[in-house]
Subunit: 349 residues, 4 copies
């Protein structure tokens, strides 16, 4: 961390400020420039906030040279993290380090028939994981809030029938006791900075699918991962799902630049959710292909047997047939740079 | 709600779609336009999601004519809501309906001396409420997370000494048991769509200070209030605190347009937080004055005896002296249109 | 300007880089920190681009300590600039340095009766300037594009009848020859970075009303002013008129924080356009009052005798009666801190 | 266009409003809904502005069913437009309708050696067009503004030597006379809504590369194209180059969703500029691949022999070697869905 001192500061006042910093266990190195003094801070500055430093009357600018995250930082963990999940069918699915993970299923679990039928379709098409919402974050208190525990039971039933590992969203800490047979716990965009929840998940032994908040910077997403990792759980899958901008054609603006950036800054796998980002099912194939080409380690996609009757988010779901077709195309895109879509990897990972 | 049907749709398919809607208890009125059919939906459409309708292949556009919120809607509650809170000193403070409420205090509670000293200063300057953070939402897990329960105790001590009602942030449901002597519970920007928390606060009997998420639309803020109100708690104070934009000079962009809009759409009082919005203490007076002139029902301001040593958010705090000076100016702005700052109203509300 | 050098850089490579910089007339001061070297650049760095420096493989970060604008910078011109314009009625109007300038009139000039009637109304209500669009920037080529030269003639006619100085938008350099009798030339938001146009206006002897582009940062607005000032014309009025954000209730988000920032960074007067920012006439009074309280040096407002029949931007115009009423209220807000609305200042500036 | 009338409006007032609309040559179809009247407007409504209608006191909402653009609209021109440009080497290059066009070269033309060397490299690697800036839009008046006419001469020299068609930016109408031997005229992001310039280009017989403004919606980009097309020039190449958002890691946020949307809404070819969007050369390959996978008809890329010495935008340029390598990878991505990169198509289009 580098601090530029305001012009005209006296040596004494800077000394006094330096002492204040050193009390926090930081070593301070002073360099006197031509017209301005510059302080270099050495040591663990991850707990220091730029804005607190800026409050000091001597401080002109603060520049963080080291990233504020450690465990999520590729600098200290150069190899890609690969998440492995074993299904009830005995097969292990991988996300990261060259393996693409495809998570597919309906927005909401509705009926036993619906979820089992979708699960079978997506497994056959090559998906590695089944998704389905039981607890649903809804903007309106008057909208359908998901089937809750009952929905979770249906999802688990689909897991038993197909062997697919399941992914579903946790909305509050007290629901955790119901998530024993869930394979990957999803933290939704609106909870990305629910720090109490993140801390709790740090002591959980399951992989976490962490969605980027729709107004969160890339650094904030990594800091959210750091919260979980600081608690001891380092099996995090990051997920880009669109940010809020002025453009209103799509629900959100899918920020695919986040993919190479996250992969450069962190060792964690990165997947993309084109369904929620665009909110438009006809755009899902184009953005799914682009995500793979940008380097994503997988996708989370909404698939619904009959989107027109879906209880929620119908517009962003594709049918099982279109999903199967898309998977074939995605496989060819993945192959361009030798990456592996699940279906072909399960024999020999 | 109005649905524009795609050109070329057959009468049968529209009839079938209409039947689907009527199964949900909605009356549908069909008007045949020159080239397109238009459906008018009558009844309670607050639970219907536009995006689900848009999934249907017959639907071209959906227009919501009625707002999706009811209890927060001024249409059904034309008079301004006024929040009254009685302090331990026997005086009642008001926010809304012509009364301006000023909530002041440090970002974080640090020591007994600090919080009591600030409380006394702000009370003398005319503030109606004391704020202070005990549980702090911090971007980094390595930053100071607030004194927690101990901080709450110090805040309560300051309440006893000064008589001022206190306002502090709740980060998770399980903390609620500690909030018995808190007068107004603050929901932070990052929790504005923590729906589980909002529902819980619906059955709480305390006023809620609900901050706008920094990527939340005005409608979403009102829907968050609706979540709490749907549970039976209608004592909500809305708070504009800046939104995320491309401009990086300020931490966020204070959206003062939200003030007249929220007051037109809703009967709830609206306050403004210029400290967090700008992140720069020198800007607080200008934006505080602008907020009052825009019609806000109050302010929440960070005041710290020594901002340079503040453990958090120092840059956005002003000193007690500058606060006292600002209060005098604000009183003159409030007086322009006959509104009442707390200090002069406590004799005769 | 401060450059942080990447860790592990050799002394020779840094020397070579330093030489490159010194060839551009910059003095470089090297400070060796604990783990990283830091270069301090001394001299006129306004022409150096951060992004070019960042291209160099030795460079980790670049921090600009000095602002990139000089003539617009308050640092080199501590006193407020005051723009004075003399009307045909012999009176001089002022904007800046304690004088508030109110510019009012219709979005488009439509007929002789319309523009003269509005001019008379707004003059009587205390406006100092008449605005009216002759050349209109329209999103659609099929929309009414303004009356052009004929509209300008009508505006000049209104100037003759009322004595009010006139303000109108210039869309292209070749129109300049028609602007001889225009008192203040407006550069629209979409032309804020039309650098060819800005350069041309640098050699023009009229005050320029420079609107902030709706995606321009505050620094970019000041750099646009710098373009004009570099050519020798330093009579610039800056205008905040809303920026693009995700919020869709208003057309743009009025960024009132820009007012105190621009006034801190620059000596130029700053006015606000609440009509275009919000796009909603009912919000104009609230935001006009807030702008004055935030410290703006004036306003530009749309006033139309019959907004319902306006050929463009009807929704954002207020009637002459509402304008007159608003002026009285604004005068009281201005008086709070001793600032002067035009009507009372014309006797004794 | 559909207009929802406010509740409680009288039949007479609606009749009067209807008459007003019909005077503008629009046929109005009235449908009386259960609680609200709805007007359907038939005829050419492209010139009608929603905001003008909204000014009327009877109007609750306005919904545009038909897009406001006609010539750019795929509805009236279902087949993809393909732009063909013949080089001095006798070969024709194509953009659109299955042909990918790659435009490569330095940000600024600097020297004869530089531009010819880059031109030869990119041609050999398979680029179809040479780009190079002569007139440069610079944020600061003190930055290098490009070599101007001299730069144009050097670019033309490179065209003669290599046979590659050239693409360069026009900043003002009066420069047009110098652009005779330029093959494709680029309109920069900051000029996307310079309507005077767009109109002028409507009567020009060269293809126009129209860049999306960094705060322009997709509809506004299409309306800008419509301005040029309304003048008779329908050879437009649309270019996505990033939009402004809160994310600051990249210079802009590349909005790849714009690619499938533009291609659905319009028949015009769509290319992507990953260099300017990200501002970071290491990200260019990832985003270039993603753009192709998303369906783009080509790319515009910055290539510079020595990015570290580039006079401008060095950080976003890649070297000729990395460009050649990237081209090979892109070819494999293009082949996935049978699209043609230039180098293989020139024998048999």
């Amino acid at each position: 961390m580098i601090i530029v001192i305001k012009r005209g500061a006296t040596a004494e006042s800077v000394q006094c400020f330096t002492a204040l910093l050193e009390k926090q266990g930081i070593k301070v190195h002073l360099s006197e420039g031509a017209s301005q003094m510059v302080l270099g801070l050495v040591g663990d500055t991850t707990g220091i906030q730029e804005k607190s430093l800026l409050a000091h009357h001597l401080v002109e600018k603060v520049i963080r040279v080291q990233e504020p995250y450690k465990r999520a930082n590729r600098l200290f963990h150069p190899d890609d993290t690969r998440i492995a999940v074993r299904g009830l069918d005995g097969e292990t699915r991988y996300i990261g380090a060259g393996y693409l993970g495809i998570i597919a299923g309906p927005c909401s679990v509705e009926t036993k028939e619906q979820i089992i039928s979708v699960a079978q379709s997506v497994k056959q098409a090559g998906a590695g994981f089944l998704r389905g919402g039981a607890f649903k974050p809804r903007t309106s208190p008057y909208s359908f809030q998901g089937l809750g525990g009952e929905g979770l039971d249906l999802l688990i039933e689909a897991k038993r029938v197909t062997g697919l590992p399941i992914v579903t969203e946790l909305m509050a800490i007290h629901q955790l006791e119901l998530f024993d047979t869930v394979d990957i716990i999803q933290v939704g965009a609106r909870n990305m900075q629910n720090f109490t929840l993140l801390k709790e998940l740090g002591s959980c032994r399951k992989p976490i699918l962490l969605k980027r908040g729709y107004a969160a910077t890339i650094t904030e997403l990594l800091m959210a991962a750091e919260y979980i990792m600081a608690g001891g759980n380092d099996r995090i899958i990051l997920c880009e799902r669109g940010i809020r901008t002025f453009e209103s054609y799509t629900r959100n603006t899918l920020d695919l630049s986040a993919v190479p950036i996250l992969k450069k800054q962190s060792h964690l796998p990165v997947i993309v959710d084109p369904s929620h980002a665009t909110g438009l099912s006809w755009m899902v194939p184009a953005m799914a292909k682009a995500a793979i080409a940008a380097g994503a380690d997988g996708l989370i996609l909404e698939v619904h047997p009959n989107p027109e009757e879906a209880l929620c988010d119908g517009e962003q779901s594709i049918t099982p047939d279109r999903f199967a077709e898309l998977m074939k195309t995605l496989q060819r895109y993945a192959a361009v740079e030798g990456r592996i879509l699940y279906e072909e990897s399960h024999e020999t990972p």
